[in-house]
C-alpha cells in the first residue's frame, strides 16, 4: 500500500509570513493525484489544493501553492501571507489514478498562526 509521511507534527508561523508544510509519499505508480486538506477545529476537512502527477506545473490556489517534485516523491504546501484563519490541521493525501479510489492520508501537521 502507498504511504504518506508528514514529518512535521506541528508548525507555527507569524501572521503575514510564509510557511511550508512538507509531505513525502511512497509509491511505485506513475499516475496519481495528490491533495492537501485543511481540518480546522470544527473538524470538517476542506480541500485546499490538488495536483495531478502527470502535470509538471505546480498547482496554485490564491495564497496556497505546492512544490511537487515527482522524482523525489515530495509534495510540499506553501502558504503565503498567512492569516489567522489558516490555523488548522493540514493533511496530505494520495490517490492512485488506476488502482482504486481510496485516499491514503499522512498523519497531519498542526499549524498555528501567531498574531
Amino acid at each position: 500500500a502507498q504511504t504518506v509521511t508528514q514529518s512535521q507534527p506541528e508548525m507555527s508561523v507569524q501572521e503575514a509570513e510564509t510557511v511550508t508544510l512538507s509531505c513525502t509519499y511512497d509509491t511505485s505508480e506513475s499516475d496519481y493525484y495528490l491533495f492537501w486538506y485543511k481540518q480546522p477545529p470544527s473538524r470538517q476537512m476542506i480541500l485546499v489544493i490538488r495536483q495531478e502527477a502527470y502535470k509538471q506545473q505546480n498547482a496554485t490556489e490564491n495564497r496556497f501553492s505546492v512544490n511537487f517534485q515527482k522524482a523525489a516523491k515530495s509534495f510540499s504546501l506553501k502558504i503565503s501571507d498567512s492569516q489567522l484563519g489558516d490555523a488548522a490541521m493540514y493533511f496530505c493525501a494520495y490517490r492512485s489514478a488506476w488502482s482504486g479510489n481510496q485516499f491514503y492520508f499522512g498523519t497531519g501537521t498542526s499549524l498555528t498562526v501567531i498574531p
Binding site: Q44, R95, N101, F105
Partner: protein, 115 residues
C-alpha cells in the same frame, strides 16, 4: 456550494449496541466513502461504494460493518455490535463522475464514543 452532511454530529453508545451513521452526499455524486479517524491518529479508509455495491474495502471493514444507500440521497454506515476501539470520528465523503471523481469532498464527521 453543495456540501456533504452527516448526522448525528455526536453519538454515545454502549459496547455491543448497534449504531447507524448517516450521510447525505453531494447530490450529483456517484462515489461514496467512509473513513475513520481515531483520536490523534491518521484518517483511515474504510469502504467505497459505487453503483449500489461496495467497490473497495479495507481490512478494518470487517463483518461488523455494513453500508447501504437506502434511498436516492442517504448513505449509511452500520456498526452491528460496537467495540470500545470503534470510538473515532467517522467521515463520509463523496466524489463526482469520471471527470471529477478524483477529488473527494468530506462531511463534518460523526464523533462516536463507545462506552
Amino acid at each position: 456550494e453543495p456540501e456533504v452532511t452527516q448526522t448525528p454530529s455526536h453519538q454515545v453508545t454502549q459496547m455491543g449496541q448497534e449504531v447507524i451513521l448517516r450521510c447525505v452526499p453531494i447530490s450529483n455524486h456517484l462515489y461514496f466513502y467512509w473513513y475513520r479517524q481515531i483520536l490523534g491518529q491518521k484518517v483511515e479508509f474504510l469502504v467505497s461504494f459505487y453503483n449500489n455495491e461496495i467497490s473497495e474495502k479495507s481490512e478494518i471493514f470487517d463483518d461488523q460493518f455494513s453500508v447501504e444507500r437506502p434511498d436516492g440521497s442517504n448513505f449509511t454506515l452500520k456498526i452491528r455490535s460496537t467495540k470500545l476501539e470503534d470510538s473515532a470520528m467517522y467521515f463520509c465523503a463523496s466524489s463526482g463522475t469520471s471527470g471529477g471523481q478524483e477529488t473527494q469532498y468530506f462531511g463534518p464527521g460523526t464523533r462516536l464514543l463507545v462506552l
